[in-house]
Amino acid sequence: MPTFVYMTRCDGCGHCVDICPSDIMHIDKVTRRAYNIEPNMCWECYSCVKACPMHAIDVRGYADFAPLGHSVRVDRDEEKGVIAWRIKFRNGQKDMELLAPITTKPWGEHIPKLAQVQGPTKEMRDSELLFNEPKYIRLDEGDIHTLKSNGLKMKAGVYY
C-alpha cells in the first residue's frame, strides 16, 4: 500500500530515498522531508519503512480498494537479528504481534571473500563443478549428477 511520511518525525536523512527499489521516495525541496512521489508505482514492499531510523514512514492501503483505519507497523533490528510486526484490524477486533528472525549469524562474517580462497585447479575448470562443489551439493563425498550417473539420454520429439 502506498507509503506516506509523518511531517513531525522525518528529519530528511534520505535513507528511504537510498533504498526504495522503485525510486519513488524523494526529498521535497520545500519541506526538506521525504515523500512518495508516485504512489501508483509503490509495491508496499516496506523497504523504506524498515530503513527509516525515525519510524516516520507508514503505509495507508491503496485508496481504490482498502478502507481507512488499519495499521501494519514494523521494527527491524539488525543487531538482534529479528523483525517485529504489529497488525491492527480496522474494526479493532484483531491486534497481532509477530516476531521472526532475519539472520542466524552476525552480518558480514560468514560470506567468503572468493578473491582470497584457494583458486580452482585446471581439473576443476574443465569439469562442470562450481565453487564449493561437489562437497556442497550433498555435504558428503558424493559427486555431481550427470546424464550418465543418472542413466539418462536426450531424445528429440514427443516420446514420453
Binding site: M1, P2, D18, I19, C20, P21, S22, D23, H26, N40, M41, C42, W43, E44, S47, G61, Y62, A63, D64, F65, A66, P67, L68, H70, V72, R76, I83, W85, F89, R90, Q93, M96, A100, P101, I102, T103, T104, G108, H110, I111, K113, L114, A115, R125, E128, L130, F131, E133, Y136, I137, R138, L139, G142, H145, L147, L152, M154, A156, G157, Y160
Partner: protein, 622 residues
C-alpha cells in the same frame, strides 16, 4: 545536456541487474576469475532490489538429494508436466543438479532455513519448496555479490548493450545513466551477464488508480532483460508463455504455503468443489497425455498450473464466483494461523495490510481468490527468455554453442528471468544460473574469445544522444503549452505505459478479455505496437526519474512486441488458463511440440520465427 560521461574500462565481467541471478553471477565470477575485473550495474540499490526486495518465505527450488528426497531428473519431469511439455530439459537438469549447493551456502551465510524437528531435514512446504525466514534474503545475497565485485554501481539504469565493431554479433559492454545524478555511464566489458529480471505491468493490471502498483511481480520488473537482449539481436524463446497467477484477491498474496503446508483448498461461492467438473472438457482440449486426473490422483502427478487456472476462470465465467480459499479450518490451529500471516509479512506485506484494512480474518472468513493479469518472466511457472546454450556434458548439438547460459550473441550471458525455457528455477535456481553463467563467462575470456573488441566513439555518442532524447524533447516542447501533461508533441511515460497495457490486454489476451486472443487481434496489436514505437520516439521526461520510467517503458514495449510475435507464431492453445488462441483452441502436438525461437534484426526491426526441437531426457514414470 550537462551530464558527465563516466567510463569504466577493461571490465571482464559486467553484471547488468543484480537481483537473484545477478548476485549469483557476481559472487561466483570471483572464484573463476580471481584476477578479473567484475563490475555490477544495478538500477536500484542492490541491498533491496528486484523481485526479492521485501524477502521471501520459501525457497521454491531445492532438491534435497542430501536427505534422499529428489534427483535433478525428478525436477525436470515436474517442470515439464507443469509447462505442458515445453521446457529446455538440459538447462533445467543443469540448474537442478547445482541448486542445492547454493542453498547450503545460503544457510551458512546466515539465512534462517527452517528445520523439520522430527527428521532434521529442511522444513518442506511442498515437494520442491522449503520454508525460510527470508526477510533478509536479498541483503544476504547482495553482501556476497559486493564481496566479490570490484565495483558496484547502484542506481544505474542500463539502457543498451554495446556491440563490438570488429566482429559481428559480439557484445562489448553496456551503457546507461545514473538515475540520481543523471550522468552517462559507459561500461566497456569483455562479457555481460544480464540479470535484469522479468516484466510486470505489460498487461493492464486488475488494480486501478493509486493501486496500480499492486501487481504480483514487482512494479520495477521492467522487462529490461528482454528489452536489452532483443535489441542486441539475441534469439528469444517461449516468449508467448506468459503466466497468470491464482492469488488472493487485490493483495496478490502467495498461495503456495496455504495449499501445500496449511492444507487449505478452494471452493466456489456455493461451497462446492469445482475443479473436477472442468477436467473432461479440458481433456478434450489438451489430450489425456497432459491431463489425466485419475493418474494424477494415484501417482500424485501434479495438475499443471495453467489447467487449474482454467478451472478457476471457467467456474467464475459460469457465474459461480467468487472462488474462496478455505482457511477457516486450518486457521483454528494457532500455529498454522501464525504461519499464514508470517507468509505474507515475509514476502507480500501488502496482503496483510489489505486483510487488516478490510477486516478479513481468515480464521472466521474464507478469503477470495482471483486470477491475475499476465506476466512475462522466466523463473516461476513459466519460461520466457533468451535462447541460451546449455552445458557441454548434457546438451544436444542444437542446444550447445560453447558456453553455458550464453545467448546467441557472443559474450552475452543470461541468468534468472533472462534465460528462456527454465521455469521453476525461482530464487535459488536464478542464483544458481548466475553462478553457471559466471563460470562460463570466465572460460570464454580465458579461451581468448574476447580479444580485439572495438567500440567507436560514435557508438558511445549515438547512444548518449538516444538516452537523453526524452529530456531534450521535453525541453523543446514543454513551453508550447500553458501547463499540464497534454501536449500534441509528446506523451509522458505513464501515458505510454497506460497505452501499452491497454493494447496488450485487449489484443494479446489480458485479464479483461478472459485471456483470449486470435490471429486477427494479434495482427491489429502488432500494428498498434509499431505505431506506438513512433510515439516512443517522442517520449518526454521532465527529470531523471521520468527518464528512468521512459527507458523502462521502452524495454517493456520491446518485450511486448516479442510476446505478440510469439503468440501469433504458435498456432495452438498450449497453456489454457494462461492464454487462449480462439482460432486454434486445441493443443496440437503434431505441429507444435517444439520450442518457439525468434530473432529481431537490430538493423531492420524484422522478426524471424523458427521452431526448435524439444528434447527430452527423462521418461514419464519415476
Amino acid at each position: 545536456m550537462a551530464y558527465k560521461t563516466i567510463t569504466e574500462d577493461n571490465i571482464d565481467i559486467l553484471v547488468a541487474g543484480a537481483g537473484l541471478g545477478g548476485t549469483g553471477a557476481a559472487f561466483e565470477a570471483r572464484y573463476w576469475g580471481q584476477d578479473k575485473k567484475i563490475v555490477i550495474a544495478e538500477k536500484a540499490n542492490i541491498d533491496r532490489s528486484g523481485a526479492v526486495a521485501q524477502g521471501l518465505y520459501a525457497i521454491n527450488c531445492y532438491m534435497g538429494t542430501r536427505f534422499g528426497e529428489n534427483n535433478p531428473e525428478d525436477h525436470v519431469r515436474y517442470a515439464r508436466i507443469d509447462l505442458m511439455g515445453m521446457v529446455r530439459e538440459d538447462l533445467l537438469f543443469d540448474m537442478a543438479r547445482h541448486v542445492d549447493s547454493a542453498v547450503h551456502q545460503f544457510e551458512e551465510w546466515g539465512l534462517p532455513l527452517m528445520r523439520d524437528p522430527n527428521t532434521g531435514a529442511y522444513q518442506r512446504e511442498g515437494r520442491w519448496q522449503i520454508m525460510i525466514h527470508g526477510e533478509s534474503y536479498k541483503p544476504i545475497v547482495a553482501e556476497a555479490a559486493k564481496k566479490s565485485a570490484d565495483e558496484v554501481y547502484n542506481r544505474i539504469c542500463v539502457t543498451h548493450l554495446l556491440m563490438d565493431e570488429a566482429k559481428e554479433n559480439r557484445v562489448a559492454g553496456a551503457v546507461g545513466f545514473n538515475v540520481r545524478t543523471g550522468n552517462y555511464h559507459v561500461f566497456k566489458s569483455k562479457t555481460v551477464i544480464v540479470g535484469a529480471g522479468g516484466a510486470s505491468n505489460i498487461f493492464k493490471p486488475r488494480s486501478v488508480g493509486e493501486g496500480a502498483g499492486r501487481v504480483w511481480y514487482a512494479p520495477w520488473s521492467s522487462g529490461s532483460a528482454y528489452g536489452l537482449l532483443i535489441e542486441a539481436g539475441a534469439k528469444m524463446t517461449q516468449m508467448e508463455n506468459r503466466i497468470v497467477l491464482a492469488r488472493f484477491k487485490d493483495g496478490y498474496g502467495p498461495v503456495g504455503a496455504y495449499f501445500l503446508h496449511l492444507k487449505t483448498y478452494t471452493q466456489n461461492a456455493y461451497g462446492e468443489e469445482y475443479e473436477s467438473k472442468w477436467w473432461p472438457g479440458l481433456q478434450e482440449i489438451v489430450g489425456k497425455e497432459y491431463l489425466d486426473p485419475d493418474a494424477s490422483h494415484v501417482t500424485h502427478r501434479p495438475i499443471p498450473t495453467c489447467l487449474r487456472n482454467h478451472a478457476l476462470i471457467s467456474e467464475v465465467n459460469a457465474g459461480r464466483g467468487p472462488i474462496h480459499m478455505v482457511t477457516m479450518e486450518a486457521f483454528q490451529d494457532p500455529h498454522l494461523e501464525e504461519i499464514g500471516w508470517h507468509n505474507f509479512l515475509g514476502m507480500t506485506v501488502g496482503q496483510a495490510v489489505l486483510w487488516a484494512a478490510t477486516d478479513v480474518d481468515p480464521k472466521n472468513e474464507n478469503p477470495e481468490l482471483t486470477t491475475s493479469e499476465p506476466y512475462v518472466m522466466g523463473s516461476h511457472a513459466t519460461g520466457c527468455g533468451a535462447w541460451c546454450s546449455g552445458p557441454e556434458d548434457v546438451s544436444p548439438d542444437e542446444y550447445f554453442w560453447g558456453y553455458n547460459r550464453m545467448t546467441t550473441v557472443a559474450g552475452l550471458f543470461g541468468a534468472g528471468d533472462a534465460v528462456g525455457g527454465t521455469p521453476h528455477a525461482f530464487s535459488s535456481g536464478s542464483f544458481t544460473e548466475g553462478r553457471l553463467a559466471a563460470k562460463a563467462a570466465c572460460k570464454y575470456i580465458d579461451d581468448g574469445k574476447a580479444e580485439g573488441i572495438v567500440v567507436s566513439e560514435k557508438q558511445i555518442n549515438d547512444r548518449k544522444e538516444e538516452i537523453y532524447k526524452p529530456m531534450e524533447h521535453y525541453k523543446i516542447y514543454r513551453n508550447e503549452i500553458t501547463a499540464g501533461d497534454v501536449n500534441p508533441n509528446y506523451i509522458n511515460p505513464r501515458q505510454g505505459l497506460d497505452r501499452l497495457q491497454k493494447l496488450m490486454d485487449e489484443y494479446c489476451g489480458g485479464a479483461s478479455v478472459n485471456y483470449m486472443t486470435n490471429e486477427k487481434l494479434l495482427h491489429i496489436g502488432l500494428k498498434k505496437l509499431a505505431i506506438m514505437e513512433e510515439d516512443l520516439g517522442k517520449l518526454a521526461a521532465k527529470d531523471t526519474h521520468e527518464l528512468l520510467r521512459a527507458w523502462e517503458l521502452k524495454h517493456r514495449h520491446r518485450a511486448s512486441e516479442a510476446v505478440m510475435h510469439h503468440t501469433l507464431f504458435r498456432k495452438e492453445t498450449r497453456w489454457p488458463g494462461y492464454y487462449y488462441r480462439g482460432d486454434a483452441l486445441k493443443l496440437d502436438d503434431e505441429n507444435w511440440h517444439v520450442l518457439t525461437v525468434s530473432r529481431r534484426d537490430p538493423q531492420t526491426g524484422e522478426y524471424t520465427m523458427e521452431k526448435a526441437p524439444c528434447y527430452h531426457l527423462v521418461d514419464e514414470n519415476e
